[in-house]
Symmetry: C2
Subunit: 184 residues, 2 copies
Amino acid sequence: MKKFEEKTIESKEIFKGKIITLQEDIVELPNGKTSKREIIKHPGAVAVIALTEEGKIVMVEQYRKALERSIVEIPAGKLEPGEDPYDSAMRELEEETSYTCGALEHLISFYTSPGFADELVHLYLAKDVVLKENARPADEDEFVEMLHLSLEEAQEYVLHQKIYDAKTAYAVQYLLIQKLQGKR
Amino acid sequence: MKKFEEKTIESKEIFKGKIITLQEDIVELPNGKTSKREIIKHPGAVAVIALTEEGKIVMVEQYRKALERSIVEIPAGKLEPGEDPYDSAMRELEEETSYTCGALEHLISFYTSPGFADELVHLYLAKDVVLKENARPADEDEFVEMLHLSLEEAQEYVLHQKIYDAKTAYAVQYLLIQKLQGKR
């Protein structure tokens, strides 16, 4: 959909990092005027809501430098160049939690911050995950601690803001609605 | 919570824009090694799930340059310097939709992209909104089209990815769970 399209007059790359790229665009608005847009290009990411055989959701607590605090999230990570989101989700689940599963189900994809970034998160469901011996190790700059929550506990975490992360809350709410509607 | 804290060794501001600031930090990891972190500082934002007297949710469709497409969202916007989130939510609702209401209810706040940005969105509920004559005009670089969806229609939009925006899906799911649990 191109409604109210903002045509690019000029696009300047300000910074190209390991993960994100920042560009500043000058755009022509629908009324003919011009404006500036600050845009973050992101490779996209995956997130996995993983359920153990006991029906517990696997969460990880990790430090987020952008927030200067640690928060509770579902396992997630950015796409590597050329990597299929499905493979990425399998990899991130194993690296961050040592859990694996037979197959993932793609639930939904969503933009996290469309006002300034193009990050698209692909959310997968992993059922009956089991701990794998000799699982792929985490990235060497990643430190996480696992916790296991029932769906109802996770929703309490959301409502009391012990889960502060949108993608995690999204995933928890998604499953809870399916459960309340008798679909799962 | 400071678990697995990453101590800042050096922080360099790369870009300071109208809305976002980009910095690159060198951090000391819990194992003593160092790593780089690319971080976006954002002023924070508000979003409003507004219900008309007929119980329809007010949505806006707008072009998002970062995505190069228009998407359907609940009214939202960034905080102005020093602005209280409540006042910001009232302002954004009026500017983007011409709707106003007597009072807002704060539902929840969440981080949209904690992996690289500190954007915190404060979500408010506006009930029984009414169109205001002589409403504050939209920002001059903002073009939006309104639509009205029932809660069930909005959830269909989420599931079929006609709503692609995380904060909007979050808000719709939040209300739907309250309805399914008989709380609203």
